[in-house]
Symmetry: D2
Subunit: 278 residues, 4 copies
Amino acid sequence: MNNAHILLIDCPDEKGLVFNITQCLFQQNLNILKNDEYVDRATNHFFMRTEFEGDLNPDELQRQLLQVLPKGVNLQLNPKKKKDIVIFATKEHHCLGDLLIRYAFDELNANVLAVISNHNTLQSLVAKFGVPFHYISPEHKTREEHEEAIFKALDIYQPEYLVLAKYMRILTPQFVQRFNNRIINIHHSFLPAFIGANPYRQAHQRGVKIIGATAHFVNDQLDEGPIIDQNVIRIDHRFTAEDMAKAGREVEKNVLAQALKWVFQDRVFIHGNKTVIF
Amino acid sequence: MNNAHILLIDCPDEKGLVFNITQCLFQQNLNILKNDEYVDRATNHFFMRTEFEGDLNPDELQRQLLQVLPKGVNLQLNPKKKKDIVIFATKEHHCLGDLLIRYAFDELNANVLAVISNHNTLQSLVAKFGVPFHYISPEHKTREEHEEAIFKALDIYQPEYLVLAKYMRILTPQFVQRFNNRIINIHHSFLPAFIGANPYRQAHQRGVKIIGATAHFVNDQLDEGPIIDQNVIRIDHRFTAEDMAKAGREVEKNVLAQALKWVFQDRVFIHGNKTVIF
Amino acid sequence: MNNAHILLIDCPDEKGLVFNITQCLFQQNLNILKNDEYVDRATNHFFMRTEFEGDLNPDELQRQLLQVLPKGVNLQLNPKKKKDIVIFATKEHHCLGDLLIRYAFDELNANVLAVISNHNTLQSLVAKFGVPFHYISPEHKTREEHEEAIFKALDIYQPEYLVLAKYMRILTPQFVQRFNNRIINIHHSFLPAFIGANPYRQAHQRGVKIIGATAHFVNDQLDEGPIIDQNVIRIDHRFTAEDMAKAGREVEKNVLAQALKWVFQDRVFIHGNKTVIF
Amino acid sequence: MNNAHILLIDCPDEKGLVFNITQCLFQQNLNILKNDEYVDRATNHFFMRTEFEGDLNPDELQRQLLQVLPKGVNLQLNPKKKKDIVIFATKEHHCLGDLLIRYAFDELNANVLAVISNHNTLQSLVAKFGVPFHYISPEHKTREEHEEAIFKALDIYQPEYLVLAKYMRILTPQFVQRFNNRIINIHHSFLPAFIGANPYRQAHQRGVKIIGATAHFVNDQLDEGPIIDQNVIRIDHRFTAEDMAKAGREVEKNVLAQALKWVFQDRVFIHGNKTVIF
């Protein structure tokens, strides 16, 4: 299946879109393996994801598609392949360790080019897996200088996605802008509950009976980007805030892994502040 | 949306099916509201469900579709409307009561034409909702005579679906055959665990930590028909077999309601012993 | 088991509490059926719930217990019996209908003495079950006059608990005070997410992937009382706000029923703004 | 809390047990931190787990307890400490990798003394964590000779528990007997559904909508030992048997980790073919 591709289209809805798109593929003698469409009625916006195989002339297909699709269409034509990523972490190992094990056994659908951290706590964990570790301390640096140092490291790797695996620093809007729609974060609460710091302490004080975690794209408003996946776990009065944090970490790593699986398979559209996932 | 229809197609997969089908709809000037496709690679079988609206000439559309679709295609063209159903029950009220409340408030997407029971226990419950209740006792009757009496009652109502809402008698293959793929049962276990009688007692003896329920189409092998939905609930050592049965009833009624929702919206394909649900 | 009782004790923790309490029961020749204890280490508070049977001299037991327990103990000695309740509802039937069916089949562990509503929408539903329905309109009344009219109705029934089964009016602090720790509400969101009005619309706008419901005791801060139970359901981008509301109603009725089961079995302690549930 | 202990008692139920046991602790001036009891009414068997701290004379406490407890009592008095374990694996890394990461960060509540495998596939993974790896091939050995070689390795380590982390060989009854109630297995199905080989293939053929995993103690009947924990994940028609296996692995590792947490904290009683977990 080495000539498999994924076609991602989103545009204002109009009559005949599926017909017109599949006609282009049919005429190029391409074989659809999997096809999903969705129309968001609130915004009248059309989404289509098509996996196909066959001898592809990408420029020709793109040219033909643009002829039949409305103005303002977003069109991506991706070869089916692993994504290049860089992982950011701070001191907590659970998400990072989980991703590294998956990567070591080729289950991540991504190449982990490097790990970047504002602490050196996780250096030895990362070393076990032969992945470059960049300890970029924010000490004696302005926020801008610190991010500049990170950019320099990223320039080496040219990653397609940045994964914030419990990276406990807030990125500047400039940083986020540079990797627009390409940064995925795991937040340790069931958003929008407990936005901000110490969500498990907040949850403990509120006496909730369920806690959760949220994987989302990062935009310039803290904890406000498009949600990719969420999950929860049942707790009870016997859980201290620390017990909640421990139980929550299990959810965090599972949710992040699930979200990355979808993103790296080109199954996630971003639409305003929401995601459409096939 | 009074001229909305649902088109259900399943057939051996071949190149161009989506294109050919959507072309037929496009040429008839019909507007696709929702479209789902799936190809089962193990059997190379194609499934497509399309909700559309517009001025339909059903014979013409069907004629055109058959021209472009492979031999052996299954094709249904259903107006979007409520299904006519008859519910079967025995002594337990929880599923029946839940369905009657939904029906009373027009949330079932079905007309409950009648309730048939082998006991008269639930007569007064059914009477509250103004639904005809047929108490058809199997006493002093052979199995065939009993089912003959049921057929007579069903002849009055001509239901599209029979819903076995904890109907605790086994139907003969002749009965099942007559309503092929049109009988939905709720089984009080997480099939295929605990097939047969007294599943909660079996579950209690085995010491399981989760119990469940299964909604499925009925075929001529007990508890072996295509599964529509399943769900579970966590239990612990403190649950007696009776506690499990009580907790299980909550799952049973929720699973049956969910399965019926999908079936009555024409979202369920039966494929061999499995279901494809859009 | 007609002489079964439930003993509820909570007090500051100190050494020997379990020993001292069980000694009192042992000396009175009472037989413990079920015993649960918990110490909240954050506040150093002790909780114990004991089901026992035997010939009880309640005054004598209470006298002996108070001798060995610290000052400021909360002590309840309840016969194991159904609670008397009044249900409040507005226009939505799903929670009310579910509770009435359970009551009709003696599964609620409570006597539904009456239903009170600010609309007459649900009158015919309630009538089916032979339960008095009080339509108390707030029209042409101040908030105080309206609540005064409700109090008058409640005076007839002297309920132990009020159940707000989607009662869409906010109670005054005076009202809440009068039924302190005895009002249970079902809130249509996974608190503390989406406090206030239209939670499903808020959830839709935020693009969450899971929605939920929360049963809680009512105190004088909106949606802020001690949480008894919560549950969730997974949704996706295809859900409109209305679809979310529909799916959410299923969770609401299940969560409310679960919370009431625990409260009516005397299994719930209120501790500050939290609950301890055995 | 270096003098914290856990007392585990199970015996036939009789009046006054909690009183008598807590009296022994009280008289020795020990402070109860956490106490749980349960009586299984079906077998009239009493279970109690007590965490306490204080200056303990273990022989004296044990002597006093035996005086007040019925004949045939099972009594354990464990210091609160990590368990010594050996992990068995075959070729699949997901459970083993998860446990090693937890061990590396001191989250397993156990010392992983060694990993034993019938293949050398996972050698390099284990080496990353500095844990001894014993590749004990069954080739050219009878089953007894193979197990004899394993025993020899185990003799070095004297583990308290053996963890079968997807160890794909069946142990002989002699082996199981030697580690009675001390072997924990993760089974890749929701037992008792799909006992035996290839559960995911079986699940795929049956068309189930939920799959699961089961952690259990091993006894001499395949997949029949006391269940410690189970969990499930929702799937749909799009899952191939291989997709199910992949999704199932996520559940397997989570369930095994949860079960081990409980076992290693001395929270699990075995009672016949069931577990009681506090």
